[in-house]
Symmetry: C2
Subunit: 140 residues, 2 copies
Amino acid sequence: MSDLGARLRARGKRLTSQRERVLAAVGHLGHGTPEEIAEAVAADGGAAVSASTVYRALEALSELGLVGHTHVDHRAPSYHLAEHATHLHVVCRGCGWVGELPLEVADELVARLDDRLGFAADVSHAAVHGLCRTCREATS
Amino acid sequence: MSDLGARLRARGKRLTSQRERVLAAVGHLGHGTPEEIAEAVAADGGAAVSASTVYRALEALSELGLVGHTHVDHRAPSYHLAEHATHLHVVCRGCGWVGELPLEVADELVARLDDRLGFAADVSHAAVHGLCRTCREATS
DNA sequence: TTGAATGCAAAAAATTTGCATATTG
DNA sequence: CAATATGCAAATTTTTTGCATTCAA
């Protein structure tokens, strides 16, 4: 992966310590809500960053494609590094159960999106909703 | 698909006119945020329902598996009928572009989830995030 | 009846925005 | 320097809760 500063500059943005720290925190946490990320940043030794800066940093990093986010639980976006080795979340609408699966299960979907639209899908950490075996039987 | 009242009762819940109207509004709208759904319900001729009731009704209907929701734009869950004939959303993290594709592109993924977990995935209206062709080139 | 559901209004979250000030390039 | 980013605090927006009241079963 290339240099953060260069990537930011390529988009007319600037490299700041806050952005570096937010990015580091996301990588360190694996997954985290904006609030958790803010806490992690505050705990890295430096001064705390304001909530708005965390939001703005995450937005900037998302535009660069460096971080992504998912809505596993509906209230609370969870951010992660785009390149983080990952899984796919499977969320049950009935009981809230959350399962994980290797990304390979979505390989074909990703390939099709690339073929048809030239779209680079980031399925890592994506959440697929539905009903788990138990709820599925209970609801039929 | 069975009767709404029976389904609710099977879960110890009750059939109310508000729940019927919320369900009807979701079906009529196709897609809608809780707020839009509340407006649609208010416009159906009956009395307006309170926001909290809309939230509670959507939650109840989701538990039954009758409605689902997606986060196309991150702020604002969009609800839809689980059975509504639909598409898959493709959302670009860079520019916000939203595309649509037939559900078939995810057939294999759905089949795998069923095989491996007995999970009934509702990929309809699901949103796959990533970078569109344009942003992809701009960011590389 | 009896417990579940509703309506309201108040309370919480979770974000976003305006602006003066500090920084990067 | 000029333009972008940050910090704060205030303003929004979105959801959730407490409770008295109403309604379904």
